[in-house]
């Protein structure tokens, strides 16, 4: 069949909406003489097989691209996950050290206050 005589295809929107999840309903404007249903239903799988073979290089390249892109994304996120886990451990170690230092200074300050002794304010209270 000549390219110009190929049937015009239109997705049947209404039917598509009624049947959510089904992308299999189509409406065709077919030239006279083009096979009618159900022959079309049998013809389409054959055409799809031809299409696959005619576009095999494109299909292989598309698959390779998808796999590569997904693999790269997985590696990038895995790297970020490891980095975040490392940072998390660092933050927790810092917390420990901050608490230790704070305790140390507060203890020392209490001792220093004791050495200074009570401070008498203007109102006479210590």
């Amino acid at each position: 069949m000549d390219r110009k005589e190929a049937p015009l295809l239109h997705l049947v929107q209404a039917r598509g909406e009624e049947r959510k999840g089904s992308a299999g309903a189509y409406e065709l404007l077919s030239p006279k003489g083009y096979p009618r249903r159900p022959n079309l239903q049998l013809l389409i799988p054959q055409k799809l097989r031809l299409f696959e073979l005619a576009n095999k290089a494109e299909l292989r390249a598309a698959l390779a691209r998808r796999l590569r892109a997904t693999q790269e994304l997985l590696e990038a996120i895995t790297h970020n996950l490891k980095r975040s886990e490392q940072l998390y451990r660092q933050v927790m170690a810092d917390r420990q050290r901050l608490l230790e230092l704070l305790q140390l200074l507060e203890d020392e300050n209490r001792k220093l206050y004791r050495q200074i002794g009570p401070v008498e304010h203007e109102d006479g209270k210590a």
């Binding site: 992308a23 065709l28 494109e58 990038a76 970020n80 998390y88 230092l101 300050n109």
Partner: protein
């Protein structure tokens, strides 16, 4: 040339094949169907087609496995990032308290006529914490690049 309208529903196998092609080539199925119908009839090399389909099915399986792994890692990453942010924020007031305690310590030492220089190491450590937790936000501290992978999925 006259045309007539035909309504049809693809057979299950054709639907599956068309959906696979549309996913792979990232094109609407109706456009692919249009392109397929425009092809001239010709012989189909069954062995070549079977090999190609096997390759595509295997590729799709690999993709499904990768996508599952990706979803798992992404979920874990989101959780760790959230926890990291929370814990990072909890360290901030501690650094401020530490700076306050150190200033108080110096003041008390001065009041008692004690030397103030012995806590140089502590001052350096405090400066370091100050730089990390007060002057920068979490992104500037080392989680850079995280956003590149965040939005890409």
């Amino acid at each position: 040339m006259g045309r007539h309208k035909v309504k049809l529903e693809l057979l299950e196998e054709a639907q599956r094949r068309l959906a696979q092609l549309a996913w792979l080539l990232n094109e609407p199925p109706e456009e692919l169907l249009q392109r397929a119908l425009a092809l001239s009839d010709g012989p189909v090399d069954e062995r070549e087609l079977a090999a190609l389909e096997e390759e595509l099915v295997e590729g799709e399986r690999r993709f499904t496995r990768l996508a599952a792994q990706l979803s798992q890692v992404h979920g874990r990453y989101a959780a760790v990032k959230f926890e990291l942010f929370e814990e990072f924020q909890r360290n901030r007031p501690l650094v401020v308290n530490l700076a306050g305690a150190l200033a108080e310590n110096r003041r008390l030492r001065r009041a008692l006529g004690r030397p103030e220089g012995r806590d140089d190491g502590l001052v350096r450590e405090l400066d370091c914490f100050f730089n990390i937790y007060i002057q920068r936000d979490l992104t500037g501290w080392g989680a850079e690049g995280a956003s590149e992978a965040d939005g890409g999925e």
